[in-house]
Amino acid sequence: MPTRLARKLAADEFVITAEVAPPHGCDLSAFLRSATCVAPHVDAVNVTDNQGANMRMTPLAAAALLVREGIEPIMQLTCRDRNRLGLQSELLGAASLGVHNILALTGDDIGCGDHRQGRAVFDLDSVLLLQTIAAMNAGQDMNGTVLSGATSFFAGAAAAPEVEPFVATRPKLIKKVAAGAGFFQTQAVFSSAKLATFCAVVKPLGCAVIAGILVLRSAKMAEFINRNIPGLNVPDVVIERLRTASDPAAEGVAIATEMAVSCRDISAGIHLMTMGHDQLVPRIVAAIS
């Protein structure tokens, strides 16, 4: 049976997703608090995978817990920390525990995280991981050997609508869709014009676009993100707006809300990134609906 995310996207219904990070330890209470705070307001919750190359609990365990709680997860899976055996066994484990939405990612550089001396794997990349998921859905492993039980994943991929030169990223987007990506969850977007251009490129490929909305709290936070988080780039005009605002946190919510509202006419959904401020999710969702 298709996931709610898959069903809503197929029915052209606007979807809202948010994300929570598994704990750096085995106490899941804070994780669960975050997830239950955002879950009533979204269609699915992304569970990050050692995001920013910082060591956390495996998203498989955390996502399975969400399933148990009746919350639909999107399990993020990166190619940085596991080889092809590890990725496939993780996927089989996910399928067996009821985790069916997967966001297939390459993974941030290990040098930007908390275990910089470690060796990054990158045995597969995001395209090859998507192909592997498609093979498993067809009842085979990546080498074509038949599985005892096919998976039924709804796989997605990442995209960066505002990156330059965009044209150099286009072939990989095409490959991702050909490899079975049913949706793109994008990096943070700040320009509805750029998002519209991106959607015009991607829509003919037959893939839904869920636009990333980043909720900023201050100009300082935006500058920190620009310096330290790969793939995120807050434009100067947004930073200036935060800098000159009397209440920068409220301005950040206003910026995110404006972007989210404009997405309604452009993309298939939004993905809210509140950087741990889960209480903002209901506020922004209420504002756009």
């Binding site: 090859l128 990156v163 990989k172 780039n233």
Partner: protein
């Protein structure tokens, strides 16, 4: 060429602890070009060791220290000096160091760290372009190796960290996949980038590698 850099003198002296007599081996090829173990560096090391209270029983710069039989022969030609030494300090790449280790039973000390197979930009500037992966794909990528030049070794295009054409990992470097795209675009071959490259077969990188040419 193999790019190597000399270990710092404290590391070398620590490794030489417990012996006072040292025979120094350099290499006339790569280690000379990257100034980690040529005539000049062997002489400099001799001076430093002498200052540190060591006795240098002799030195040699072998034409190609990676040549196992030649290294053995050259060391035999200096047998007296070698026999007097407690340690052989080798300033060459790891291949040369192991030729020396195979050629005699003396304790061998590595005085360098081997870094990469490097292209030479200009004197003293080296860049890694090839990882010796054993499965060359330069025909498909406009002559730019994604396995090496992409910091993540990705086969199917840039990662999400590319920004303004720069690499996520080393922002001073241009993204390998942007370079590949631009080259293939100029050659009107960019369409071939729409087809996924299969996963690598690491059998080509199994080690220790060996090759015997058939006669």
């Amino acid at each position: 060429m193999i790019v190597s850099t000399q270990k710092n003198i404290d590391q070398i002296l620590t490794a030489l602890d417990g012996g006072s007599r040292v025979f120094i081996v350099g290499c006339a090829k790569c280690a000379t070009v990257c100034k980690s173990g040529g005539e000049e560096e062997v002489f400099g090391m001799q001076e430093e060791l002498t200052v540190a209270g060591k006795e240098v029983t002799g030195t040699i710069v072998i034409d190609e220290a990676c040549h196992i039989l030649r290294t053995g022969r050259d060391l035999r030609s200096r047998r007296e000096q070698v026999d007097l030494a407690d340690f052989l300090l080798v300033l060459s790449c790891g291949a040369g160091i192991q030729s020396v280790a195979e050629a005699c039973d003396k304790k061998v000390v590595a005085g360098t760290d081997s870094r990469f197979l490097g292209n030479i930009r200009r004197f003293g500037q080296f860049e890694q372009r090839c990882s010796l992966c054993g499965d060359c794909r330069l025909n498909e990528t406009g002559g730019v190796c994604p396995v090496t030049v992409c910091a993540k070794g990705l086969l199917n295009g840039p990662c999400g960290g590319m920004q303004d054409g720069s690499c996520e990992v080393e922002t001073d470097n241009r993204c390998a996949w942007v370079t590949i795209y631009e080259r293939l675009e100029r050659q009107q071959r960019s369409g071939q980038l729409d087809i996924a490259t299969p996963a690598r077969d690491y059998i080509h990188e199994a080690h220790p590698g060996s090759l015997k040419l058939e006669k």
